[in-house]
Symmetry: D2
Subunit: 252 residues, 4 copies
Amino acid sequence: MVTRKPVFLVIGAGAGIGGHAAQRFAVGGYHAVLARRSDAEGLQKLVDAITEAGDEASGRLLDASLPDTIEELVEEVERDIGPIEVALFNLGAQIGNRSLADTSDRMFELGWRLATYAPFRLARALMPHMVSREKGTLIVTSATAAMRGNAGQHSHAAAMGGRRMLCQTLNAEFAPQGIHISHVVIDGAVNAPDTLGKMLGDKFEAFKGEDGVLDPAAVAETYWHLAHQPRSAWTHEVDLRPWTDVPWWNDN
Amino acid sequence: MVTRKPVFLVIGAGAGIGGHAAQRFAVGGYHAVLARRSDAEGLQKLVDAITEAGDEASGRLLDASLPDTIEELVEEVERDIGPIEVALFNLGAQIGNRSLADTSDRMFELGWRLATYAPFRLARALMPHMVSREKGTLIVTSATAAMRGNAGQHSHAAAMGGRRMLCQTLNAEFAPQGIHISHVVIDGAVNAPDTLGKMLGDKFEAFKGEDGVLDPAAVAETYWHLAHQPRSAWTHEVDLRPWTDVPWWNDN
Amino acid sequence: MVTRKPVFLVIGAGAGIGGHAAQRFAVGGYHAVLARRSDAEGLQKLVDAITEAGDEASGRLLDASLPDTIEELVEEVERDIGPIEVALFNLGAQIGNRSLADTSDRMFELGWRLATYAPFRLARALMPHMVSREKGTLIVTSATAAMRGNAGQHSHAAAMGGRRMLCQTLNAEFAPQGIHISHVVIDGAVNAPDTLGKMLGDKFEAFKGEDGVLDPAAVAETYWHLAHQPRSAWTHEVDLRPWTDVPWWNDN
Amino acid sequence: MVTRKPVFLVIGAGAGIGGHAAQRFAVGGYHAVLARRSDAEGLQKLVDAITEAGDEASGRLLDASLPDTIEELVEEVERDIGPIEVALFNLGAQIGNRSLADTSDRMFELGWRLATYAPFRLARALMPHMVSREKGTLIVTSATAAMRGNAGQHSHAAAMGGRRMLCQTLNAEFAPQGIHISHVVIDGAVNAPDTLGKMLGDKFEAFKGEDGVLDPAAVAETYWHLAHQPRSAWTHEVDLRPWTDVPWWNDN
């Protein structure tokens, strides 16, 4: 479908930050395009929740680790739906803590492929469109591992450190062309039933405490704010964590 | 006057970020208390602009470099106006570029007194009130000089570097008690007729370019966003600069 | 040849930092193993210069971008020459400034392969040996691009940002096992006839000024110092630049 | 006494880093001037240990928190002993962890006075002499608190954050004039009987573990290295910690 609304594209649209961001932008007047790797049913649920509320959304399955997938998605959305005004790269590459010996070549490369190379590919496909319109926003969800490398995080931290520097090089090239690039350091656990919930099972409720995990709807609200900052006052980097969490730079 | 509204207190309420923040919070339903060092007339104008729009504001003159001034202001506001829900420390200590030889003891100390010690005093006066209510927000306007020390910035950078670390120690102690502390790195020139305008005179318009200086109203909008983040997703540090400005970490 | 000396292995042994480090460690009593991608003749010259001075050295050609090369080199050196006490990863991935549109998938991946993945592979091959001996040092030559991403540095900065985080994860896992990991930020041009000299041609002498480019022998001296810090006082990160250079965090 | 040797001046010469640095530079051919606040007897012991070994040293008592003391010391040493080639500012301002409520105005100001203002004063007194000779080195011992602000560190972190920025502004102004400024982040406990030993008492030996606290002689060796880097390859910032310590940026 072609839309008259501006388009919000999110790559990595699960039930956490990605899905909530899609919902927030849809409510705010965007056509939300949700892309994720698998679970067509879960994706449809997210899309339906938005359209049933009277807002606009589409869903796409795509494997960001495969060639041309991201590139084709961008072209298709631009051609068949509408100009992408805001894009959110929301794929992570966390594989838990593993010693160096237990970090295989494949894991290390996959971390890079998803967390560093995929946002590069998204930017390369997207920037020409945004530059031709002299506006647009690219928000990149990032992680503590972009700021410091903890034990066991060889794959994840190397990939995220690369992602952070990439966001800086993108900002340096494209901000003066009117494109807002924002790198968001998610410095805490997110209240996401798909990931954290599955991992913790029964202990999830206790772990969450009183507002003790990041509410993805609240994160989405900050993304909305970033995307609507006037160009005279843009944020490139921002951190987010629950009130009870110790920031990454402090001792536990 | 006693208010039924939550109170927003800004120390350093000129015609730039401070004044615009006061206006933004007043429009949003706060009673804004504007404090500044001098120019009773200019202060009254800012207060009048808010009250004539049907919102609430009060003005106070105070010299933050003198003992007890900040402390007494906090007590007076809490007692006579209402509980301070959001405070903005907005005093800078920029004195232009000076070589070490031209940076006197007095200048170096004054930089510390205004930029590091004054926010410490504000925090010490304010935190007990906020802690007793288990909520509150302290936003601190900061500067590029908090991140790196350029030539000629001996006084300013030393003071701002201290300010940034202070914001981190405040966050470490008070975030778990429900108080949101936010350090905002203003990494560009602000469109402020009082300071930048006077300095540049005729050249001000050309310097500003097309959205090329920070619009204080846009900065105030980000402050509003920070102050209303739910405690499950707080930002401690954020940067702001115009789209055409080179971030502090990039080469010019 | 089997040596009785401790072994110093350098990957990326050109006429700049790598070659000078080999020489410094050879003079200091190590058997230096110099590995580089090409130019067997140039390599032999470096080896000869060391052995003619009465010290020990061997040379190896290896393409660090190919599978198993680094891994086999480590095994071969450990088996046929002796235990590697100090290793230096000295390969860069600078390809000059290129816009995003001019940065191909291949370039971006090659940057990662040489600058992030290759040191990961070196560490994975080397650490078991060093851990079994409860000592060893891995020095990684890095660059300004590991600290901030400038325009045109998409491939280089992403790769170096990943490298820096990798060095931190390696340090976090292996320092407590007695292995010293050091990340050296080379924040200036190096006086290397192979690279800078060829690039600048006639202008090289003028560019160098009075000690205005990093002397690779001086860099090697700092590497020597790092490798011999007692474990009670280890340096993980250090920067190096000529006196006339502006540090990366300052404005030009 | 007038010396023919270059002079090494250390402010903060206790039995830890300061005293060991004095000894290292004396052994290396400098006349060491040791200045500290109190304990004339302890000071004399340090001086005697150096002179009895056949090297040169002098001692001075000075209270760096009082006006003119640092300035007069610099003038006196330059006039009566010889040109200061290397100076080490080694005073800390750690007062242990204190809540904001327990951090008095006096403590907060004293932290600044000793940790930020005193090195500013040293630099202002010393730089004209070094600039006139177009060479010299100023090393500043710093602390983790210069990099991040932990709970309870309001005074210390604010002062050290200011110190770090000051070192950057000094470097920006004076490096191009031939003066090497180095900021050393001591990121661990130092094996100092005067401070750590007294604090821990019987538990000191167990706490130290196997090389588990910074050996001040090893720290002094790194200072010696920094002071003798040729100007083509200067280090501005370096960290030091024991192998078993978790770096400040990692989780405990």
